[in-house]
């Protein structure tokens, strides 16, 4: 308390006795009164500022109102006192995260006092525009402190005072970086959860100003200020429809795309430039900046309604970044996850990408450009074989690498959602009479014969292949029917160890290895895919049952079993023909053994086997060798309750539980057993990879979801006796769904028919309209001519009457003339007149 004693000396009264801190502060507070000299007030504020940290409570209690008055009256007049009072107030209101509760409480309490009336915030808004650097800066900092403590209150004041936002935005153009950066920071918290303030910001040109900052700071190569600006932009857009439509329509989206190096108006059939695909990524700040920019591009890619030019460009940018660039793995993953699930904007099969490969040992400085391939092929390659064909990671499953493959898998799932597409892909795997279908990379990986000792990369490929194939079949009866007739080329699927390591990006299979005939390839008849899968499943069960394999390899055999089982469960579901084929391939024996294993602490594989057995029972509806009546006694001998329990226990397995819609990668067990790298030396590209986190995949969300919706059906189905026709609610549901689908299809057709009718009708009705108009005008004409006729008739009548009158008058006149002895002519007219008269009478 050195400082306090100094002040005490200065303040010591005439009597000279020392004072307590509270006394001192009280006397200082008195001096804040407007009646003192400005210089005295300034001295008092400076003294209080010094005391504020250590005597926060006393200063607040005794001097806060006085300090607020000084801010109100003196700050604009005297920048020094303004700065000092602001700094004091900041100290009083600051809430330090690690401070004791009482001190933090005090900070909140003081903040509430300051914000009790609108005058302080109003004054701060005014000071933001002050020409004194220190005042501006301190006002900004104080505002930021208040926002940190009581965001909503400050936001409400902002909405009441239009100048607030305006002057804050103006600071984005402040020449002094320190103010500009502080303003960006303040805006970040100001816009949090306030769509109204976000919109005003957009109106006031915040987007344009923030982009200006980014561009002038070397774009995404720039420093942390770029990151802050991008965070602001994201905050203004993310939950604000109105701002999104403003932004979409502005000139800024092309700027954003250019920032990541993507030419905004690149024609669809023109490849992306190499400067986009290959960039330098050494600077961590750049990764952070690009990641934010990618997030915003993802927002623009999503667009309600039909895709427009912008959403297509953004979707392409994300896809290219994920499939054919040298961006860091986590950015690729982010980009692929943001590709909209409605893929109509992205014709994956037609889109051509050019993947790159790092040149080994070039430390990420040299890259080989691969042959262009369709984005779909590149996607499947990435899923099956990993980033850069795993030449960096080798057999190690890095968490990042697995996440990337998982994200790519998600795109594939969305892409094959349309039945036509999944069917077409399966169809391409079927040989037509007279010609062998090529073994696609997917089919190749799916049918690779697992041989001990396992090659872990190959296991991962096969496992991903089961996931891919399940996506093709899951909800498509037609794809399932097609898949049954796939007969992979004999010998194509040999152990990958013997094949070429590298599969060229054009999708062709590596040359088939010579050791095609694996152990049990004794029969000559070519096997169907389904038979091969059940055989490999059985192989895998045998291998994992062996006592002598190391734990780590046993785990990999488990993974293969899980992959095969999950695929078979989804394939055989509601497909009696496939069930029959599977059973006839000897499946019963294969499945029963693992279920029956006692004292197995691992519930996963028995659970899946029990489930598959249930599926085989429930959907065993075609006549065949292995009937329901044959299976039922096996079920009862195993114990229905036991089976039911096995099925339900899968739910408790950690590997199963951990899977979510967006997270299928689980941490690998921390076995740091040295992995062998049969194909290349140590990692050779990019940052040295010490101790990268490893991750693995067991299930994907689609299966977990499938299982959760259907396990109950199977639990019920295994109870039902073999002769009952159909038990499962699931099947009823399925039938219901199928019939509803039919109804919908019919209705759609009906609607279409009606619409076309309507169209012809409406053209007919427009003709009718014309006719009606014609009739109307004719009627009108008729009416008017009738009226005219009537008028004419009336006129004629009037004339006749007149004539009549004239006639009688003339007659009378003639009479009178005759009487007067005048000579009167006897003209014909008279006769006419008479005749007329006669007619009239």
């Amino acid at each position: 308390m050195e400082f306090l004693s100094q002040i005490n000396i200065a303040l010591r009264g005439p009597t000279g006795q020392p004072q307590s801190a509270a006394d001192t502060i009280s006397r200082l507070a008195d001096r804040l009164s407007p009646s003192t000299l400005l210089a005295d007030r300034r001295a008092a504020v400076l003294a209080l500022k010094g005391l504020a940290r250590d005597c926060k409570a006393d200063v607040a209690e005794l001097a806060l109102p006085g300090l607020i008055d000084v801010l109100q009256n003196d700050a604009e007049v005297d920048a020094d006192i303004g700065k000092a009072v602001l700094e004091t107030l900041i100290t009083l209101c600051e809430v330090e995260e690690n401070a004791p509760a009482a001190s933090r409480e005090l900070g909140y309490k003081n903040t509430d006092t300051v914000l009790a009336e609108e005058k302080v915030p109003q004054k701060l808004f005014t000071l933001l525009a002050d020409h004194s650097f220190y005042l501006r800066y301190s006002a900004l900092q104080f505002l930021s402190t208040l926002l940190q403590n009581r965001r909503q209150v400050v936001q409400a004041y902002f909405l009441k005072a239009p100048v607030g936002v305006t002057s804050l935005i103006a600071l984005l153009e402040d020449k002094r970086e320190i103010i500009r950066n502080e303003a960006i920071f303040t805006i970040q918290s100001l816009i949090t959860q306030s769509p109204e303030i976000q919109k005003i910001m957009a109106f006031e040109g915040a987007f344009e100003k923030l982009f200006n900052i980014i561009v002038n700071e070397q774009g995404l190569e720039g420093g942390v200020v770029v990151q802050d600006a991008l965070t602001c932009i994201d905050g203004l857009l993310r939950f604000n429809q109105s701002n999104q439509s403003y932004f979409r329509g502005s000139a800024l989206p092309p700027v954003l795309l250019s920032l990541v190096g993507f030419p905004p108006s690149l024609p669809f059939n023109t490849p992306t430039p190499q400067q986009f695909a290959l960039q330098l990524w050494d600077v961590p700040q750049k990764r952070a900046n690009v990641s934010l920019a990618v997030g915003i591009i993802g927002l623009l890619a999503r667009h309600a309604g039909p895709p427009d030019g912008l959403s297509i460009a953004c979707t392409r940018c994300l896809t290219e970044l994920g499939l054919s660039s040298n961006a860091p793995t986590h950015i690729k993953t982010q980009a692929l996850r943001l590709v909209p699930s409605n893929l109509s904007a992205l014709p994956l099969a037609e889109m051509i990408v050019t993947p790159y490969m790092p040149v080994p040992d070039s430390n990420g400085e040299e890259w080989d450009r691969l042959e262009p391939s369709s984005a779909l092929d590149a996607l499947v390659e990435l899923i099956l074989h990993g980033e850069y064909h795993a030449i960096i990671d080798g057999e190690r499953r890095t968490k990042d690498g697995m996440e990337l493959r998982g994200a790519a898998l998600g795109i594939f799932q969305n892409f094959v959602q349309k039945e036509e597409i999944s069917e077409a892909i399966v169809q391409a795997m079927i040989s037509q009479p007279g010609s062998q279908a090529p073994v696609t990379p997917l089919l190749y990986a799916l049918t690779t014969v697992p041989v001990s000792p396992l090659n872990f990369s190959s296991v991962t490929s096969t496992h991903f292949a089961t996931l891919l194939f399940a996506h093709l079949l899951r909800y498509s009866p037609r794809a399932k029917a097609l898949a049954r007739s796939i007969i992979p080329q004999a010998g194509a699927a040999s152990n990958q160890n013997s094949g070429a390591f590298f599969v060229p990006a054009d999708g062709g299979p590596p040359p088939a290895g010579g050791a095609a005939d694996a152990a049990e390839a004794d029969e000559d008849e070519p096997q169907t895919l389904l038979q091969i899968l059940s055989e490999h499943l059985s192989l895998a069960f045998l291998a994992r049952a062996r006592e002598d394999i190391p734990a780590r390899e046993a785990r990999e055999w488990d993974r293969l079993c899980v992959g095969y089982l999950c695929l078979l469960i989804q394939w055989l579901w509601e497909d009696p023909a496939a069930v029959r084929e599977f059973l006839e391939a000897g499946a019963l024996g294969v499945l029963v053994e693992p279920i029956n294993q006692t004292a197995e602490e691992d519930a996963m594989i028995p659970g899946l086997c029990a489930f598959l057995l249930g599926v085989c029972y429930e959907f065993n509806r075609e006549p065949g060798e292995v009937t329901r009546a044959i299976i039922y006694p096996i079920l009862t001998r195993l114990g229905i309750d036991m089976l039911s329990g096995r099925i339900i226990h899968l739910r408790d397995d950690d590997r199963f539980k951990a899977v979510g819609p967006d997270s299928i990668v689980v941490p690998a067990p921390s076995s740091h057993a040295p992995t062998h790298h049969p194909h290349q030396g140590p990692p050779s590209v990019g940052v040295p990879q010490q101790d990268v986190e490893e991750g693995e995949i067991w299930f994907d969300w689609a299966f977990v979801d499938f299982w959760k919706s259907n396990y109950y059906t199977i639990q019920k189905a295994i109870v039902v006796d073999p002769n009952s026709v159909s038990s499962a609610a699931g099947q009823e549901n399925a039938m219901l769904v199928a019939s509803l689908r039919d109804v919908i299809r019919n209705q759609a057709a009906e609607i279409e028919r009606l619409q076309s009718q309507l169209k012809t009708l409406s053209t007919a009705s427009s003709e009718q309209e014309a006719l009606r108009a014609q009739i109307a005008s004719l009627t009108e004409q008729l009416q008017s001519s009738e009226e005219r006729k009537r008028d004419v008739e009336k006129e004629q009548e009037d004339l006749l009457v007149l004539l009549d009158e004239l006639n009688s008058k003339r007659r009378r006149d003639k009479e009178r003339m005759r009487q007067a002895g005048l000579e009167v002519s006897e003209d014909e007219a008279e006769d006419d007149g008479d005749e007329d008269e006669e007619e009239e009478e």
Partner: protein
């Protein structure tokens, strides 16, 4: 996504009483649609439209902020006045009250907006009271409560442009925006707005500060 597709960006605000049809006018302008039951606007909504002014041979991007007429949003909506170049002040020709209140809206605009702002008074919903025989079947007719002459007179007194329109039929909707736009462009030509002072008018310069051509990117090969 080609380069700059417009010569000017103009900021418009649309104000007036609740339910006079402000949002409906904007939706008619941007989407060529009419909704019978739109939600009342909360705060502010944004919409934009490119229009061409043939005489000037200029493409103009209208950025329109449609504000809420409800009293409780008034302080929020005021924030938008300051930066606008144009204002549609809307009333409903079948509601006298909305016309009376237009005075206070105008006062608000005058208090907060740029003094050079162009304001057009728009009498909306004329479809409800036209004596067009063809419209008898639709919507119950409502009585006109504000005559064209009266509104025109007031507009003249206040120096506002004026038009009667209908968001429902679409009559005069684009015309209202065009008329205001012409007036603003005229002011631009006369140099009333100089570029940096009025935030409501932006000239699009293809080589503005946002162009990235000169950025040097690091290649890797």
């Amino acid at each position: 996504m080609a380069g700059v597709a417009w010569h000017y960006v103009l900021k418009f605000i649309i104000t007036g009483d609740a339910a006079v049809g402000k949002s409906s006018l904007l939706i008619r302008l941007t989407d060529q649609r009419f909704l019978a039951n739109p939600d009342p606007t909360l705060g502010v909504e944004f919409g934009s439209k490119l229009i061409t002014i043939p005489e000037e041979n200029k493409v103009v991007k209208l950025q329109c902020w449609d504000t809420a007429g409800t009293e409780s949003f008034r302080s929020i909506t005021r924030s938008y006045y300051r930066g606008a170049a144009g204002c549609l002040l809307v009333y409903d020709v079948t509601s006298r009250q909305s016309f009376v209140n237009a005075r206070s809206w105008l006062a608000d605009v005058r208090e907060h907006a740029d003094p050079h702002l162009t304001c057009i008074l728009v009498g909306n919903k004329i479809d409800l009271c036209t004596d067009d025989a063809s419209s008898t079947s639709s919507a119950p007719k409502r009585k006109r409560e504000v005559t064209t002459e009266e509104a025109e007179l007031w507009a003249k007194e206040e120096g506002l442009l004026f038009v009667e329109a209908s968001a429902k039929s679409g009559a005069n909707v684009e015309a209202a925006f065009e008329q205001a736009t012409r007036d603003i462009l005229e002011k631009v030509r006369r140099g009333v707005f100089d570029d940096d002072r009025s935030p409501g008018v932006k000239l699009s310069k293809p080589s503005s500060g946002l162009a990235l051509e000169d950025q040097t990117r690091s290649g890797c090969c």
